[in-house]
C-alpha cells in the first residue's frame, strides 16, 4: 500500500511547502473541485405555461358557445344541390355528402362534443369521489369487496358496457351518452381517491370531525376533498379528453349519437362514404378540430399536474 493511494485529489499534503498552496488553482494536472461555477438558472415564469393551448381552447370554446354568430348556414339544412363540395368561397370547409355546410357544423357540433365531455366528466368524478371515499373509509373487508368490484368493472369491455347501457336507455341522445360514458369511466379516479383517503382517514382532524358528529358527506367535502383534489385534478382533466374521444369513437362507429345530432363524432361517421369519393375535407377538418381540442386539454392537464423535477440530474 502506497501512501499516495489515500491522497485526495486537490487537497494538499500538509507536509509540502506552503508556497505551493497559493498556486493550487493554476497547477498543471490538478483540477480544483470547489471553485466550479454553478450556472444560475433564470427564473422561468412563462416557459411552462401553455399559453398557446389556453388561447386555442378559449377560441374553440367561445366559437362553439357563440356559434350562432359565426355560422354562415343552417348546420342541419341539407342543400341537395350542393352536396360533396370541396372548400370554396361560399362553403368555407366544403359540404358533406348530405349537403350540409361543414363550417357551420363544426361550431355547432363542437358545442355538443364539448358539452358531452364536461357533463360525463362531472358524472364520473362525482361517482368516483363518493365511491372511492366510501371505500377508503370503510372497514377492510368492505373496502376489499368494493375494490374487487371496480376491478371487475374495469375488466368488462367498456364498449360492450356502453352499448348495453345505451340499449337499455333507448335511442342515444346527448344526455344519455354522457351519462353512459360517465358511468363507465370513473374507476381509475376512484382508485386514486381511495388510496388518498386511506392515508388521510387516521388524521386528527378527520377523527375530530367524526367525534363532533360530522357525517360522511361533511367529512368528505370539508376535510378529505381539499386534500385529494390536487392529485385527481390531472385525471379529471384527462377524463374530459377521454370522454370527448369516447363520444366521437362511438358516434363514428354508429353506436353513439345518430347522424342528425351533429357532433364531431357523428360528422366523422360519414367518413366511410367520404373515403369512396375521396372527400378529404369531411375527414380532415372535424378531425383536426378534435385533435387540437384534445391537445390543448392535454397540455392544460400537464400544466396542472406540475410534476416538474427541480433536482439536477446526476448523470
Amino acid at each position: 500500500m502506497m501512501e499516495d493511494k489515500f491522497q485526495i485529489v486537490g487537497i494538499q499534503n500538509p507536509n509540502e511547502d506552503a508556497p505551493n498552496q497559493v498556486d493550487i488553482g493554476r497547477q498543471e494536472g490538478v483540477r480544483p473541485i470547489f471553485p466550479r461555477v454553478v450556472p444560475i438558472q433564470k427564473p422561468r415564469r412563462h416557459r411552462d405555461k401553455p399559453i398557446l393551448a389556453i388561447v386555442l381552447l378559449l377560441t374553440i370554446v367561445t366559437g362553439c358557445l357563440a356559434c350562432e354568430m359565426i355560422m354562415t348556414k343552417d348546420p342541419a339544412y341539407m342543400d341537395l344541390k350542393n352536396y360533396n363540395l370541396p372548400p370554396n368561397g361560399e362553403f368555407l370547409f366544403g359540404t358533406d355528402s348530405m349537403g350540409r355546410d361543414v363550417f357551420s357544423m363544426i361550431w355547432y357540433g363542437g358545442r355538443v362534443s364539448l358539452f358531452i365531455g364536461v357533463l360525463s366528466t362531472l358524472a364520473s368524478t362525482a361517482i368516483a369521489v363518493v365511491f372511492g371515499a366510501a371505500s377508503g373509509i370503510a372497514p377492510g373487508w368492505l373496502d376489499e369487496l368494493l375494490m374487487r368490484l371496480t376491478e371487475i368493472l374495469l375488466s368488462v369491455p367498456s364498449l360492450l358496457l356502453v352499448v348495453l347501457i345505451q340499449a337499455i336507455l333507448g335511442e342515444a341522445n346527448v344526455f344519455s351518452i354522457s351519462l353512459v360514458i360517465g358511468v363507465t369511466s370513473w374507476t381509475s379516479i376512484a382508485k386514486v381517491v381511495r388510496t388518498e383517503v386511506r392515508g388521510l382517514r387516521e388524521s386528527e382532524y378527520v377523527i375530530a370531525s367524526k367525534c363532533m358528529g360530522g357525517g360522511f358527506f361533511h367529512i368528505l367535502w370539508h376535510h378529505l376533498a381539499p386534500n385529494f383534489v390536487s392529485s385527481i385534478m390531472f385525471m379529471v382533466v384527462m377524463n374530459v379528453r377521454g370522454a370527448i374521444v369516447a363520444e366521437s369513437t362511438l358516434s363514428f362507429m354508429g353506436i353513439g349519437l345518430p347522424l342528425h345530432v351533429i357532433s364531431w363524432g357523428s360528422m366523422l361517421s360519414l367518413s366511410e362514404k367520404a373515403l369512396l369519393t375521396n372527400s378529404w375535407w369531411m375527414i380532415l377538418i372535424p378531425g383536426i378540430f378534435l385533435v387540437v381540442t384534445l391537445l390543448s386539454i392535454t397540455s392544460l392537464g400537464n400544466f396542472l399536474q406540475k410534476s416538474i423535477n427541480a433536482k439536477q440530474s446526476n448523470l
Partner: protein, 360 residues
C-alpha cells in the same frame, strides 16, 4: 423442515392468487350474463330474422323454449355454467354455428395483430425512453416528447382514417381493409402487406405514452444518490444507464405493460373495426349490434379473463422481482395503471375501446 415450510408458504401464496383469479372470473361471468340477458333487443330476431314478426305466439313460445330463453335468468345462468364446463358455450344466433368455432376462426388474426403490436410497443418504447433519458433536455428529447404528446391526442380511428386516405385512396400503395386479398390467405407477404396500416396505428397510438413513462422513470432514477456514487466511481454513462438505472426501472415497467394488455387489446379492436380486419374486434362489434348474446358473452369473458390474468401476473411479477412490494404497495402500481388507463391514450383507451377497455 425449513424447506417444507417455505414450499407450504409458496403454495399458499399461489393458491391465494388462483383463488383470487377464479372468484374474479366467477363474478365477472355473473355480471356479464345478467347484463347481457337484461338488455332489451330480441335474440329471436337475430336467430330467425324478420320471420319472427309472422310467428304466432305459440310458435314463439316453442322457439324460446328450444333456445332456453323462457326460464328465469338464474336458471339460465346455472344451465349456461354447466354447459360451459363441458366446453359448450352455446351457438351464435347470427352465424348459426358453435360460438367457440366462430371465435376460433378469428382469434388468430387478432393475436397476430395484438401480439406483434404489443411486442413492438414494448421494444420501441423502451428504446425511445432510454434515448430520451440519455439526451435529457436536449433537442432530440424535446422533439420526441412533443411528438409523443401530439400522437397520444389523436384518436385511433381518426389516425386510421387519415392513413387510409393517404396510403390507400391517394397513393394507392397499401390495401385499406381485410387481412388478405381474395384467394391470398396462404400468402404470407400478402398478409404482412395488409397488416402494415393496422399495425402502424396500433403501435403509433400506444407507443408514445409508454416511451414517455420509461423516460420519466429513467430521469427520476438518474437523480438518485447511487447514480452519483456510480459516477464518482468513474462508471461510464452507458454502464450507469443500462446496468443500474434501466435495471431499477424494468420491474415497474414490466408490471405496467402487463396491466396495459387490455388497453392495447381495446385499441386493436377499434383498429380492426375501421380496417374491417377479420378479428375478435370486428366480431364483438358485430355481435353487439346484432344482439348475439352467446357470442358477445364469450368474447367479454375472454377479454375479462385476460385482463384479470394480466393484473395478477403483474402483481406476481412485482412481488417476485422486488420483495418490498407487498400488499399495500401493489396499489401504487394499480395507481400507475389507473394513470395509464385514465391518462393517456384514452384515446383509446379507454373508453372507446371495444373491449378490454382499460380505462373506461
Amino acid at each position: 423442515m425449513k424447506i417444507q415450510s417455505r414450499i407450504r408458504s409458496r403454495c399458499h401464496y399461489y393458491g391465494r392468487k388462483v383463488l383470487l383469479f377464479l372468484s374474479s372470473v366467477f363474478l365477472l361471468s355473473i355480471v356479464v350474463f345478467y347484463v347481457s340477458r337484461l338488455a332489451p333487443g330480441d335474440p329471436l330476431v337475430s336467430y330467425y330474422g324478420d320471420r319472427v314478426e309472422k310467428m304466432s305466439s305459440e310458435e314463439r313460445g316453442r322457439a324460446e323454449e328450444r333456445l332456453g330463453l323462457s326460464a328465469p335468468i338464474f336458471v339460465q345462468y346455472v344451465r349456461w355454467l354447466d354447459n360451459a364446463f363441458h366446453g359448450d358455450f352455446g351457438i351464435s344466433y347470427k352465424y348459426k354455428m358453435d360460438v367457440v368455432e366462430v371465435i376460433r376462426g378469428r382469434l388468430g388474426n387478432t393475436l397476430i395483430l395484438g401480439g406483434i403490436g404489443f411486442f413492438l410497443i414494448f421494444v420501441f418504447s423502451l428504446l425511445l425512453g432510454v434515448l430520451c433519458a440519455w439526451h435529457e433536455g436536449r433537442w432530440i428529447d424535446r422533439v420526441i416528447c412533443r411528438v409523443g404528446t401530439i400522437m397520444s391526442c389523436i384518436p385511433e380511428f381518426w389516425l386510421s382514417l387519415v392513413l387510409i386516405l393517404l396510403f390507400a385512396v391517394e397513393l394507392r400503395v397499401l390495401p385499406s381493409s381485410g387481412a388478405y386479398s381474395i384467394g391470398g390467405d396462404k400468402d404470407l407477404v400478402d398478409r404482412a402487406w395488409h397488416l402494415v396500416l393496422p399495425m402502424t396505428v396500433v403501435v403509433a397510438g400506444h407507443l408514445w405514452y409508454y416511451a414517455y413513462m420509461v423516460r420519466n422513470k429513467m430521469v427520476e432514477e438518474a437523480r438518485r444518490d447511487y447514480v452519483l456514487l456510480a459516477k464518482a466511481k468513474g462508471l461510464s454513462k452507458r454502464a450507469m444507464i443500462f446496468r443500474h438505472c434501466l435495471r431499477n426501472v424494468l420491474p415497474s415497467f414490466l408490471s405496467i405493460m402487463a396491466i396495459s394488455v387490455p388497453h392495447v387489446l381495446g385499441g386493436t379492436y377499434i383498429v380492426e373495426t375501421v380496417f374491417s380486419y377479420p378479428g375478435i374486434g370486428t366480431l364483438s362489434y358485430e355481435s353487439a349490434r346484432y344482439k348475439d348474446y352467446n357470442l358477445l358473452m364469450l368474447l367479454c369473458l375472454l377479454s375479462g379473463i385476460l385482463v384479470i390474468l394480466c393484473n395478477i401476473v403483474a402483481q406476481v411479477v412485482n412481488e417476485r422481482i422486488d420483495p418490498r412490494m407487498k400488499a399495500e404497495v401493489v396499489w401504487e402500481t394499480s395507481r400507475d395503471a389507473a394513470r395509464v388507463n385514465g391518462g393517456s391514450e384514452s384515446a383509446g383507451e379507454n373508453e372507446d375501446a371495444e373491449e378490454g377497455g382499460g380505462e373506461v
